[in-house]
């Protein structure tokens, strides 16, 4: 028994010492900001994290970021948030797994005087600030353009995001709003891609294999693989709406005979959350608790749209990263800083 104790103690202390020394020295600034995210390995979310790091570094006011970033559910995110509270952070920027499932943990944080900001998706906890892309408008803008391209009639494939995510339900509202304006447009197929590239591609290939005719595809941001699937399977090119992911924007510029539109949905919204957190910690509170960033639509059907797309394209970015890596007024970093993906003290 004593042997077990001694051995585990030595091992443990050695491990702890290693981790402590690896944590390293800290940079300038005074605030510690905690970040909680529950989707790992997704291009959009990775850009969000990099934007948060870059903004924290560029602000010069953040000493350290404490990032809890893993694939988990609302209960796991509550655990992460409570760990961040234990870590004594000044603010928590969270991309919520569920609009209400983490309220209890968020309330505990704000009760302790921690500034809580939900980015990308809303939460129902009233003490939290929310800064989000306007998801309803995102879907409405893209869907309306798509239905116009389809001549106001025909069958559309509706490729949604993740079931239950508030960004997905908000987008569904916008999509349905556009659908109501075009009574002759029918939804041929509705699927949840879970915002996973491989899953989305499999789903569209399965659908093409059924031979059901369709006249347009609306995607919730899993877009470039859909165009790939259309090209590879030799199916008729139909208009596709996606997000401003670098890969998709490249396709809009380069794929022959392909019409489509990219709706901006900047992952850099994460940086806006960090900026808002720093502002509030500095004593500059915003007038409203909810800030929405409005999307833009870039299409390749008109010359004007093509020019916008050309200007936006950035082949140096990872194809899954949104090209709108900055939001005017909300981000202070340079492109080099976000691509480097280094936070304060790294």
């Amino acid at each position: 028994m004593t042997r077990t104790m001694r051995a585990t103690r030595i091992g443990l202390l050695a491990g702890a010492a290693l981790v402590l020394s690896a944590a390293g020295a800290l940079a300038q600034g005074t605030y510690t900001i905690g970040i909680s995210n529950t989707v790992q390995g997704n291009g959009w979310r990775e850009e969000m994290i990099c934007a948060m790091k870059a903004q924290a570094l560029a602000s010069g006011k953040v000493a350290k970021l404490n990032i809890a970033h893993r694939n988990t559910d609302a209960a796991g995110q509550s655990e992460d948030i409570r760990n961040l509270i234990s870590a004594g952070v000044n603010a928590i920027v969270v991309n919520p797994a569920d609009p209400s499932g983490i309220n209890a943990a968020l309330k505990e944080a704000t009760d302790k005087g921690i500034v809580v900001i939900a980015v990308d998706q809303a939460v129902t906890e009233p003490s939290a600030y929310i800064i989000s892309n306007n998801q309803e408008e995102y879907a409405y803008l893209g869907a309306k353009w798509l239905f116009q391209q389809m001549g106001g009639k025909g069958d559309v494939v509706y490729m949604r995001g993740a079931a239950g995510a508030s960004a997905d339900s908000d987008r569904d509202k916008g999509f349905k709003k556009a659908l109501a304006e075009f009574p002759d447009v029918k939804v041929a197929q509705e699927v949840f891609t879970g915002w996973q590239q491989d899953q989305g591609k499999q789903q569209i290939l399965d659908f093409i294999a059924t031979g059901t005719p369709f006249n347009g595809i609306w995607t919730s941001g899993i877009d470039n693989v859909i165009v790939d699937a259309l090209v590879e399977s030799g199916a008729t090119m139909v208009p596709v709406v996606g997000a401003d992911n670098a890969g998709f924007v490249g396709q809009l510029n380069n794929v022959q005979g392909f019409t489509g539109a990219a709706v901006t949905n900047p992952g850099s919204i994460g940086a806006a959350g960090v900026k808002l957190a720093v502002d509030i910690l500095d004593g500059k509170k915003p007038e409203q608790k909810v800030v929405l960033v409005e999307p833009q639509l870039w299409e390749n059907a008109t010359e004007e749209g093509k020019a916008k797309l050309k200007a936006a394209a950035d082949p140096s970015l990872s194809p899954e990263w949104p090209v709108s890596i900055m939001i005017p007024g909300w981000t202070d970093y340079t492109k080099e800083q976000i691509v480097a993906c280094k936070g304060p003290g790294e």
Binding site: M1, R3, T4, T8, L12, I67, S86, G88, A163, G164
Partner: protein, 324 residues
């Protein structure tokens, strides 16, 4: 005293490890205190029930891959039934959901016994079935939970005549966990059925020849697993106030904690205390990694490495003990 410690060497070692981890945590974050311990137990709760569900089956020589799906299904069922209803109605929902878990678990056992298909295959099939059923009940996270249920896991237990500083360290979530597990496990372990569980786990044939009702015991093991799974599902609904149909990371976590807790995967050996302490160890490691702000892409690697080291060390010491 020494003899009991020796007999439960693994569990004692784990408890020592846990205490050491608390010391490390306090060193990393000097402010770590009662409120943080309460948070830890709330995080532990769903994992602890998942690992209890897995432990019962593993002791009986099986494995249950449907644990996480069972939790998802029972969680959404509870959340849907409680949405917009009165506080009293939840008093009916809780036993119903527990019964549902028990019944579905028993179904797992019956399928295994009757079809003679290996446990891992049958429970893999039920994993998908229960997951589908959960999505049928609720296609997206939602529903609700009674306020009194949510309050069951919030904060410490107020004990009269004790200073606040002391009873702050007794979280309600921990009390709930201990009561729920003890009510099922202690009478079971002391009964003939408990002995049968270990017997069929050690050797099904020997147990059968000694007159142990193998089929009945196995079905009961899976039914209890379902019951613990339902408790886990309820604990998820309690802590989030909603039900989520997509299973969380509880299946692999439950197997990990079972192994770390000193339960032999082949069956017949181990208890419930070890795996539960192991859950605390694993959650506290996660807390420490967050406190240290370790690169999130590295955390899972560290968690895995720690687990392998502890298990290997344990096996090594056990081997040396045998030889000497």
């Amino acid at each position: 005293m020494i003899r009991t410690l020796r007999r439960h060497a693994w569990v004692t070692g784990l408890i020592v490890l846990l205490v050491l981890l608390f010391v490390v945590t306090k060193l990393i974050q000097p402010g770590y205190g009662a409120a943080d311990f309460v948070s830890l137990t709330r995080a532990v709760l769903p994992y602890a029930f998942a690992v209890a569900a897995q432990t019962v089956v593993v002791i009986a020589g099986g494995i249950d891959l449907s644990v996480a799906s069972m939790m998802a299904l029972t969680s959404v069922t509870a959340a849907v039934m409680m949405a917009g209803t009165s506080e009293e109605y939840a008093l009916l929902v809780v036993p119903f959901v527990l019964l549902l878990g028990f019944g579905l678990g028993a179904l797992n056992g019956i399928l295994i016994v009757v079809s003679r298909v290996p446990d891992i295959v049958v429970t893999l099939a039920t994993l998908f079935m229960l997951q589908g059923a959960a999505l049928l009940v609720l296609n997206a996270p939602g529903g609700g939970a009674a306020e009194w249920l949510k309050a069951l896991v919030i904060g410490p237990v107020p004990i009269p005549f004790l200073p606040d500083a002391v009873d702050a360290y007794l979280p309600r979530a921990l009390l709930l966990l201990v009561i729920c597990l003890a009510v099922v496990w202690i009478p079971l372990k002391r009964s003939r059925i408990g002995l049968s569980l270990y017997a069929i786990g050690s050797s099904e044939l020997a147990a059968f020849r000694s007159g142990v009702p193998v089929a009945r015991t196995k079905i009961l093991a899976y039914a209890l697993s379902g019951l613990f799974g339902a408790m886990g599902g309820l604990s998820l609904t309690m802590s989030t106030g909603i039900g989520a149909p997509i299973p969380g990371p509880y299946l692999l976590a439950s197997v990990a904690a079972v192994v770390l807790g000193g339960v032999t995967l082949g069956g017949g050996r181990g208890g419930l205390l070890g795996p539960i302490v192991a859950v605390f160890v694993l959650r506290l490691v996660r807390t420490d990694l967050t406190l240290l702000a370790v690169d999130p892409n590295v955390t899972t690697i560290i968690e895995g490495v720690i687990m392998v080291i502890v298990v290997m060390l344990g096996a090594f010491l056990a081997m040396r003990e045998k030889r000497s």
